[in-house]
């Protein structure tokens, strides 16, 4: 199905995308729906974009649910491993 579910997060960071060029990643769009490329019926998809920029400036991830959970756990573990004063 098309789940229609879409979640947004404002971000401040950078991503390396098309043409091996960096851009400001200002928004993450997250949804669980059909992938374009991954070999699964549904995947957890993340689009990192510059909402003010060219639509082609996008880093796209299509992850199985298990992979997405593993990514979340890895991010949490990496964040937990450093002192709070570094995370401001």
């Amino acid at each position: 199905m098309c789940t229609y579910t879409t979640v947004h997060a404002d971000m401040d960071g950078s991503a390396k995308g098309p043409g091996s060029s960096w851009f400001h990643a200002g928004r993450a769009t997250v949804y669980f729906d059909h992938p374009v490329h991954a070999m699964a019926e549904h995947t957890l998809n993340i689009d990192l974009t510059d909402p003010d920029g060219d639509p082609a400036r996008r880093v796209a991830l299509e992850l199985t649910a298990e992979s997405a959970r593993a990514l979340v756990a890895a991010i949490q573990e990496a964040l937990a491993a450093v002192p709070d004063e570094l995370k401001v």
Binding site: M1, C2, T3, Y4, T5, T6, V7, H8, R27, T29, Y31, D33, H34, V36, M39, A40, E41, D47, T49, P51, D54, P55, A56, R58, A60
Partner: protein, 247 residues
């Protein structure tokens, strides 16, 4: 079969006069024929949608697939455009109806037109095919596993779609529905509900449910592809359109 065809990109006025782009495929032969509007799925105006459009030309129809995301991301690749459209909330129903109506008008204005136009959509486009057939002048509609024609839309869905139950009395064209028995959206119960409603309303329809097939069984580049269901489905579509879009 019309293997010799012309396929090209055009620009046409869409809903509210907005210029939108569209992919057009036409048999390279002079005879009067029906037209087909192909509604692409939520992942966008992609290669698969254009292949489907060419297949209708091969079957002897003038076919057009409007890029429903033209406005959000002009010139972007289909997957990037789909990402932008999704981030902005998707295609509003009113705009979809306007774009399909414009595509139907484009087809009817072709010198080869016999005046009849069908619409077909897949996945989210399946619901939109029914939506279009409730709100604009088409002669036949095909719904390939569209969710939320009936059934309740979960309240946590941020895209403001609704089911089409209240609009079904306005359905103005025969409906062919093709569904996977293993699909959950639409579920077999939701397909049964749609069947009951159309029966009660006295609307002409023809439904087929494929055992062993889930969602998106026509999508031949995806794991969900089901050869038996897709082959039979194409034959059903061919017969349905021959009946309702013939001269």
């Amino acid at each position: 079969m019309y293997e010799s065809m012309i396929a090209t990109l055009v620009r046409m006025p869409g809903h509210a006069g907005d210029e939108i782009e569209a992919y057009v495929a036409r048999p390279e032969a002079e005879f009067r024929r029906g037209g087909v509007v192909v509604i692409h799925h939520m992942p966008g105006w992609d290669r698969g949608s254009k292949e489907i459009t060419r297949r209708f030309a091969e079957l002897g129809y003038d076919a057009v697939c409007p890029n429903l995301y033209t406005r959000e991301a002009p010139g972007a690749s289909p997957d990037d455009a789909a990402a932008v459209a999704r981030a902005q909330g998707g295609v509003p129903d009113e705009r979809l109806v306007g774009d399909v109506a414009a595509a139907a008008a484009y087809l009817r204005a072709l010198p080869t037109s016999n005046g009849k136009v069908g619409v077909i959509g897949y996945c989210s486009g399946g619901r939109q095919s029914v939506l279009a057939a409730c709100n604009t002048d088409v002669d036949a509609a095909v719904d390939c596993y569209g969710a939320f024609v009936t059934g309740e839309v979960p309240t946590e869905f941020p895209l403001k779609i609704t089911n089409l139950v209240e609009q079904l009395p306005n359905l103005r064209a025969p409906l062919l529905g093709l569904f996977g028995a293993e699909d959950r959206y639409p579920s077999p119960d939701q397909v049964d509900e749609l069947e009951r409603i159309l029966t009660d309303l006295g609307k002409p329809f023809e439904f087929h449910r494929y055992e062993g097939a889930g969602h998106a069984f026509f999508a031949n580049e995806r794991p969900s592809y089901n050869v038996a269901a897709a082959n039979d489905g194409w034959e059903r579509i061919e017969r349905f359109y021959a009946t309702h879009l013939g001269a």
